[in-house]
C-alpha cells in the first residue's frame, strides 16, 4: 500500500492506534476490570479512543451544522455514536466509529485506484515536443509550439501535436487512439495524429494544429466531460439520494420516540434508531453508478471508441435499429472501374478514349477512369472539351468527337446504346456518333462490413438499414451482399432526415436508433438519431462535434463492440443499484426488528460501497488483454 495519500496515511495510523487501545479496553471490560468503577469513569476511558478515531468527523459535523447542512453523513454518525454513549453502549460507539473509518479509508483507496487505472487508460498526453533551436534539439512544452513550426519525433516518442510529415518515413502505432494494434505506415505528406506513438524512424513534421485544438486534447476533453452528460440511471440515483437520507433520518426519529411510549424501553429503541442513522448515508449508491459508467466509457476509449456521455452508453445498450450511410461507411468510398464492355473496339481502346476525354475533369468518376488507364495522358490529343453537369462530357480526341456520360446524354444525341443494369455507376461512350461501349465504376464493400452486421444482429439489433443516393440496382446489390434488412436508394441528402424520422417513429418505447455516417454532409441526421455514430474520423472536427459516439478508425465492427460494452456497463450499474438498495433495505428492516446491530449497519453503508466499487472495476478488466 505504498500509494496512499498523506490523508490516507494519517487515517491508517489513527485506525491502528484506536484498534490497539480498543482491543485493550475490550479485554479489560470482559475480565471485569471496569466493574468497580462508576459509570462516568468507564465512559471517560472509552471517550479517549472515540476521540482519536472520530475527532475529524465530530469537527466536520459541527462545521456543517453551522453552515446549515443538517443531513450530512458526519452529523448522522455523530448523533448515532453519541446516542450509543448515552444509552451506555460505550464499546459499540467506539467500534462503529472505528469500523466506519476503516470503511471510509478502504473506499477512498478503492476509488483512488480505479481512478488511477482509468486515467492510465487515457494516458495519451504527450509531455514534450522536440524543436530544433540553432542546430540543437530542445524539449519544449507542446503548448508552446505554434502552427507551422517544425517538430522532430524520435522513434518511441509520442506524437505531441497534429502535424504533416515533412521529412522521414516511419511506422506509427495508433493503438492508444484506435485500439488498432497493427502499425500504420506514414511518409512525407502524410498527416500524423497527436497521441499516437512513432514507431521506427525519426521524422520531421510541420505542425498543423495548436495543442489545444489537437486531436489528443480534444479526445481527453471529450472523455473528461463525458461525466456531465448523465445517464437516466445516474439522475435517478441522484434524485433518490436526496430523498433517501431525510427519509431514513425521520424514520429513525420516529423509531426512537414512538414505540418506547408504549413499552417504555427507551434504550433499546434508541439503539435501533442509531442503526438507522448509520445506514442513512447514500454514498454507496451515489458512487457506484457514475463509477460504472466511467469504467464503461474508459473501456470503450481503450478500444478506439469515444462515447460522449453515460447517457449514450445507456442508449446504446438498447440499440434496436441501426441506419447506415452507404458511401464511405459500408463501402470504401473509393470508386474503381469494375467492368468495361466494349462494342466494336477493344477494351483498352475504350478505356483510353474515355480517359482522354475525361483528362481535364476532377470528378471522382473521371479520376477512376484515368486510374484504370494507368498511363500518362498526352493532353495535346484532346481539345474542345465541354462538361455538362449531371450528364457527361463531350470532347475531340485525336480529332474524333467523343461523348461520355449517362444514358440521357446518349439519347439526347440520338445514339443507340445497350442499357446495362449492373450495380455501380455506368458511363456510356460514343465515338463519331457510334456507340462503342460502357464502363462500370463501382465502390467496393468495406472489409468487415458484413461481419459487423452479423455481429450487430447477434448483439440485439433488430433492423439494419442502409441509406444511399445511389441507384436502386447498386443499393440492392450491396444490401443483399451485406445481409441488410432494408435499404432506401436514390435519396437526396435532404431526404435522409425524413427517413430517419420515419424509422424513429417505428421504434418501440425504450428502443433506440443509431445513425452511422462519416460525419461529412450528414451532421443533421447524426443529430436527429437517438445516437449519432461517426466513423473514420481521425482528426475530423465536424464528425467529433456532431456525433455522440465517435469510432476512431474505419472499422464497423466497433459498433457491436460498443454495444457489448454498453450492455456490460448497464448490467454492472443495475447490479450495484439492486445490491446497494437491497442490503440497505434488509438492514433497515432487521434493524427496526432489533436483529441487526450498528456493526451490520456500518457494513451496509461502507462495506456495500466498497463492494460496488470493486464490481464497477470489472468493467476495466476486460480491456487489459
Amino acid at each position: 500500500m505504498g500509494s496512499l495519500t498523506k490523508k490516507q496515511r494519517t487515517a491508517l495510523l489513527r485506525i491502528v492506534v484506536t484498534f490497539v487501545l480498543f482491543a485493550g479496553l475490550m479485554i479489560c471490560e470482559h475480565t471485569g476490570v471496569f466493574e468497580p468503577l462508576p459509570w462516568w469513569a468507564a465512559a471517560l476511558i472509552f471517550i479517549v479512543p472515540y476521540l482519536i478515531i472520530g475527532y475529524d468527523i465530530i469537527l466536520k459535523a459541527m462545521k456543517n451544522i453551522l453552515h446549515g447542512q443538517v443531513f450530512d453523513e458526519n452529523f448522522l454518525m455523530l448523533v448515532a455514536t453519541v446516542a450509543a454513549f448515552c444509552i451506555g453502549e460505550y464499546s459499540e460507539a467506539v467500534a462503529v466509529m472505528l469500523f466506519y473509518q476503516v470503511g471510509e479509508l478502504f473506499q477512498s483507496y478503492a476509488v483512488g485506484k480505479s481512478r488511477q487505472s482509468i486515467t492510465e487508460l487515457m494516458n495519451i498526453v504527450p509531455e514534450y515536443a522536440n524543436i530544433e533551436w540553432n542546430g540543437e534539439l530542445r524539449q519544449v512544452d507542446p503548448d508552446d509550439v505554434e502552427v507551422g513550426d517544425t517538430i522532430i519525433i524520435k522513434p518511441g516518442e509520442r506524437i505531441p501535436l497534429d502535424a504533416v510529415i515533412a521529412e522521414g518515413d516511419t511506422m506509427i502505432d495508433t493503438a492508444a487512439l484506435t485500439g488498432e494494434s497493427v502499425p500504420r505506415h506514414a511518409s512525407v505528406g502524410d498527416e500524423i495524429i497527436s497521441g499516437c506513438i512513432n514507431g521506427s524512424g525519426t521524422i520531421k513534421a510541420t505542425v498543423t494544429k495548436a495543442f489545444e485544438d489537437s486531436t489528443v486534447t480534444r479526445i481527453l476533453e471529450l472523455v473528461e466531460n463525458a461525466g456531465s452528460k448523465k445517464a437516466k440511471t445516474e439522475n435517478f440515483i441522484t434524485r433518490f439520494a436526496k430523498v433517501y437520507t431525510p427519509f431514513v433520518t425521520i424514520a429513525a426519529l420516529i423509531l426512537a420516540v414512538i414505540p418506547p411510549l408504549f413499552d417504555g424501553d427507551w434504550s433499546e429503541w434508541i439503539a435501533r434508531a442509531c442503526t438507522f442513522l448509520v445506514i442513512s448515508c447514500p454514498c454507496a449508491l451515489v458512487i457506484s453508478v457514475p463509477l460504472g459508467f466511467f469504467g464503461g466509457i474508459g473501456s470503450a476509449s481503450r478500444q478506439g471508441i469515444l462515447v460522449k456521455g453515460g447517457s449514450y452508453l445507456e442508449a446504446v445498450a438498447e440499440l434496436k435499429t441501426v441506419v447506415f450511410d452507404k458511401t464511405g461507411t459500408l463501402t470504401k468510398g473509393e470508386f474503381r472501374v469494375s467492368k468495361a464492355a466494349a462494342v466494336g473496339c477493344t477494351e483498352e481502346e475504350l478505356i483510353e478514349t474515355a480517359a482522354l476525354a475525361e483528362c481535364f475533369s476532377n470528378h471522382p468518376i473521371a479520376v477512376s477512369i484515368r486510374e484504370a488507364y494507368g498511363k500518362t495522358i498526352n493532353t495535346e490529343r484532346v481539345s474542345d472539351t465541354e462538361e455538362t453537369a449531371g450528364h457527361g462530357v463531350a470532347a475531340l480526341v485525336d480529332g474524333r468527337r467523343v461523348l461520355l456520360g449517362n444514358m440521357a446524354l446518349m439519347r439526347d444525341n440520338g445514339i443507340e446504346a445497350n442499357e446495362l443494369t449492373s450495380p455501380g455507376t455506368v458511363v456510356y461512350a460514343a465515338r463519331d456518333g457510334k456507340y462503342i461501349g460502357a464502363i462500370v465504376i463501382s465502390d467496393s464493400v468495406k472489409e468487415g462490413s458484413a461481419e459487423a452486421i452479423t455481429e450487430l444482429k447477434a448483439a440485439g439489433a433488430k433492423r439494419c438499414v442502409m441509406l444511399t443516393g445511389d441507384r436502386e440496382a447498386e443499393a440492392g446489390a450491396v444490401s443483399a451482399q451485406l445481409g441488410l434488412d432494408m435499404h432506401y436508394s436514390e435519396l437526396l441528402p435532404s431526404d435522409k432526415v425524413g427517413i430517419v424520422e420515419k424509422l424513429l417513429g417505428e421504434c418501440g418505447k425504450g428502443e433506440n436508433l443509431a445513425f452511422v455516417g462519416d460525419g461529412i454532409n450528414d451532421a443533421p441526421v447524426l443529430a436527429r438519431a437517438d445516437i449519432g455514430i461517426a466513423m473514420g474520423s481521425m482528426g475530423s472536427d465536424a464528425a467529433i462535434e456532431a456525433a455522440d459516439i465517435v469510432i476512431m478508425d474505419d472499422d464497423l465492427r466497433k459498433i457491436p463492440e460498443v454495444m457489448k460494452t454498453a450492455s456490460k456497463t448497464m448490467r454492472i450499474v443495475r447490479e450495484n443499484i439492486v445490491f446497494a438498495l437491497g442490503v440497505k433495505l434488509a438492514v433497515l428492516v432487521l434493524g427496526a426488528l432489533g436483529i441487526a446491530n450498528m456493526w451490520l449497519a456500518v457494513f451496509a453503508d461502507v462495506g456495500v460501497a466498497v463492494i460496488a466499487i470493486l464490481n464497477s472495476m470489472r468493467m476495466l478488466k476486460k480491456t487489459r488483454t
Binding site: N64, E224, G227, S228, A241, C281, P282, V286, I287, P290
Partner: protein
C-alpha cells in the same frame, strides 16, 4: 467564460453532487459541473465578474465540503 479547476481531497461522491448543486445556485454562474471521478470542476460564468464569482464558489465549497481544496 469557461474554466477548469483541479480539486484535491474530494472524497465522497455525494459531496461532489452537493457542491455542484450549490455552485449552480450562485448568481452569475451559468453552468457548473463537479466531476468526482476526474477530481475536476468546470465553471461557466460571466466574464467580467469571474473573479468575484470564483471567490463565492470557493466559499460555497468550503461550506459543503471543508476538506476539499480548489487548486487555482
Amino acid at each position: 467564460m469557461k474554466k477548469k479547476f483541479k480539486l484535491q481531497d474530494l472524497d465522497c461522491a455525494n459531496c461532489a453532487q452537493k457542491m455542484e448543486d450549490a455552485i449552480k445556485k450562485i448568481d452569475g454562474v451559468t453552468d457548473a459541473s463537479v466531476n468526482f471521478m476526474m477530481q475536476k470542476m468546470t465553471v461557466e460564468a460571466d466574464d467580467d465578474r469571474f473573479d468575484d464569482i470564483m471567490k463565492k464558489i470557493v466559499d460555497t465549497c468550503k461550506k459543503v465540503e471543508p476538506e476539499c481544496v480548489i487548486l487555482m
